[in-house]
């Protein structure tokens, strides 16, 4: 009994109907279910007792973890975070209230509904068959395989064909020949297309390699130039030496920070893959997390020197810049990316991470609203025009007043960057507290991979071949 698999349904929409039509044939296969089969013809008064037996039976079936895991649709519907080890217990717990597939209550009701009009189980199951979808119910006892759809389908095909074969034999043969030729042609075309695709891919990869080499060369040149104090900037209006020096200093320090970060990440990667002991791993992870504090400090200094340089992400690659939030990454987004790849997480950890996601999201919203208010306020300040009939000195005074106010408002941008960075820092630290050492290590590696891929994407995008 435990080994018998049953196809619960072609798809979710057919669950109820299929479930109720599964049951009759299912029961007919196994000795335990026979009471149901016979009681199907029972009178109304015994229907309640049918319920009891059915519930017990379905209860047993639901509780069988092998049954759950063998339903392919179920595993895809289950939360993707769960690992194989946790799937049986956790998936069952998590989806028990929600899924209609294996929930005894709903199926019992459906079964009852199908019982009411048709006391005869066999005719009930036949009537349901038409609603099944693709599978062939004519031979229900053979429908024991959950994993392939082919078998019932094949039977259908065979049965249909046997009827048709007698009628049109000669025309079939020529049709077959045409079919063969078409198939051969199609296969040849596929092969040709695949070959061309492979060649294209090869050419493209070659191009990428060349671009990559060129890129590293350029990076080295820029690095050297920077160290020699050459003024490199992409915007035309950085004329003031003060802020220019600040920007230069920030860029240089950021480059140094990146190098150190890469070194720490490599150390972490080596430690993880060589299964270092927990104490040492904790040290390395702690170093990496603390190192993040440095970049937030750098950005604070940079924002003091030139708030727009930081806010607009001029120091980041284009792709990073495009998806920034107030001068950096969005903490809740980062958590969302990580959580699916950090399995297995305990219930407590899942709750903690979920709460952290929610809190950071709320804080992000609050800060975003503040930024919107700032923009609105600035707009109002600048848009307040004087009504013209005043003397020229009055107008100038107005203008100066407006500008002074606007200047004050711009000054608050630095505060927003600081709060956003603080949020990023706090989120990372809280995440570190929730996760185990190994999980934190993995998270840091994932974060690093994500950002370096984003940077690589920028490079690829900039180096992509463009048709003129």
């Amino acid at each position: 009994m435990a080994g018998t698999k049953v196809k619960i349904g072609a798809d979710d929409n057919n669950n109820r109907r299929s479930a109720s039509s599964v049951m009759p044939s299912f029961f007919s296969q196994t000795p335990v279910s026979n009471p149901m089969g016979t009681e199907a013809n029972a009178t109304q008064s015994s229907r309640l007792s049918d319920y009891g037996v059915l519930e017990q039976y379905m209860g047993f079936r639901v509780g069988d973890p092998s049954g759950i895991s063998q339903s392919p649709r179920f595993t895809s519907a289950a939360d993707g975070r769960l690992s194989g080890a946790d799937l049986h217990s956790q998936a069952f717990n998590m989806t028990r209230p929600s899924t209609s597939t294996l929930f005894p209550g709903s199926q019992v009701i459906q079964f009852h509904k199908s019982l009411a009009p048709m006391p005869n189980i066999v005719s009930a199951s036949n009537a349901q068959h038409e609603n099944w979808g693709d599978s062939n119910m004519a031979d229900s006892s053979s429908r024991t395989d959950t994993s392939t759809d082919a078998e019932p389908g094949d039977k259908n095909f065979e049965m249909g064909q046997s009827a048709a074969v007698v009628i049109s034999d000669s025309t079939d043969k020529s049709k077959e020949r045409n079919q063969d030729q078409k198939t051969l042609r199609r296969l040849a075309q596929n092969r040709e297309a695949a070959r061309k695709s492979r060649l294209r891919k090869k050419a493209y990869v070659q191009q990428l390699e060349n671009s990559r080499m060129k890129l590293t060369q350029l990076e080295q040149e820029v690095q050297q130039a920077r160290q020699q104090g050459v003024y490199i900037t992409s915007t035309a209006d950085q004329s003031h030496t003060g802020s220019a020096n600040g920007v230069l200093a920030f860029d240089a320090e950021y480059a140094r920070w990146m190098e150190e970060q890469n070194r720490l990440i490599n150390e972490l990667r080596t430690a993880v893959s060589s299964h270092t002991n927990d104490v040492e791993l904790r040290n390395i992870v702690s170093n990496a997390i603390t190192h993040f504090n440095d970049v937030f400090r750098l950005k604070g200094n940079g924002a003091k020197a030139d708030v727009f340089h930081i806010l607009l992400g001029m120091w980041k690659t284009p792709a990073e810049r495009c998806f920034m939030w107030i001068g950096g990454f969005r903490p809740s987004e980062l958590l969302k990316l990580l959580v699916n790849q950090l399995e297995p997480l305990s219930e407590q950890q899942l709750t903690g991470i979920f709460n952290l996601q929610q809190s950071s999201h709320q804080a992000e919203d609050a800060l975003s609203q503040g930024m919107d208010a700032l923009q609105q306020s600035l707009g109002e300040t600048l848009a307040t025009g004087s009504s013209g009939s005043e003397g020229s000195s009055g107008n100038v005074a107005n203008y100066m007043g407006q500008m002074a106010m606007a200047m004050g408002k711009l000054g608050t941008l630095e505060g927003f960057i600081r709060q956003a960075d603080n949020l990023r820092q706090q989120t990372l630290q809280q995440m570190h507290r929730i996760l185990t050492t190994k999980q934190s290590a993995r998270a840091l590696l994932l974060i690093n991979d994500y950002f370096s891929r984003l940077r690589a994407l920028s490079s690829l995008w900039l180096a992509r071949p463009q048709e003129s």
Binding site: N355, L356, S359, S360, Q362, A363, D365, A366, L367, Q369, G370, M371, A373, L374, S377, G408, K409, T412, G415, F416, R418, Q419, N422, L423, Q426, T427, Q430, R433
Partner: protein
């Protein structure tokens, strides 16, 4: 200082702000999002505003606004509030002070 203490103890959540301050706007937005209804006192609209500002500075609030009090206790400015929110403490404080229920 007395006025600050006085106002701070009148409601479970109290925020001292300035009407032009956008960071105050953010802090208010966060409290509203959590379901708290803080009492807002705008220092630039208050006749004793200057003295209150000085009192807050003495208390160590930096920047002076927004200045947050929960259950009559001084909590801090935006940075403190956000840090407390991220580790879950802010919600607990608000629940203890009966500013929110869950």
């Amino acid at each position: 200082m007395d006025r600050i203490r006085d106002l701070a103890s009148q409601k479970a959540a109290v925020i001292f702000t300035k009407s032009s301050c956008c960071m105050c706007h953010s802090t208010k937005a966060l409290f509203y999002d959590l379901g708290a209804s803080p009492a807002i006192h705008e220092l630039d609209q208050d006749e004793n505003g200057r003295e209150m500002e000085l009192a807050l500075r003495v208390l160590g609030c930096n920047p002076i606004v927004p200045s947050v009090f929960i259950g009559g206790q001084f909590v801090g400015s935006t940075k403190d509030v956000i840090s407390l929110h991220v580790d879950g403490s802010l919600k607990k404080m608000l629940i203890n002070a009966k500013a929110i229920w869950f």
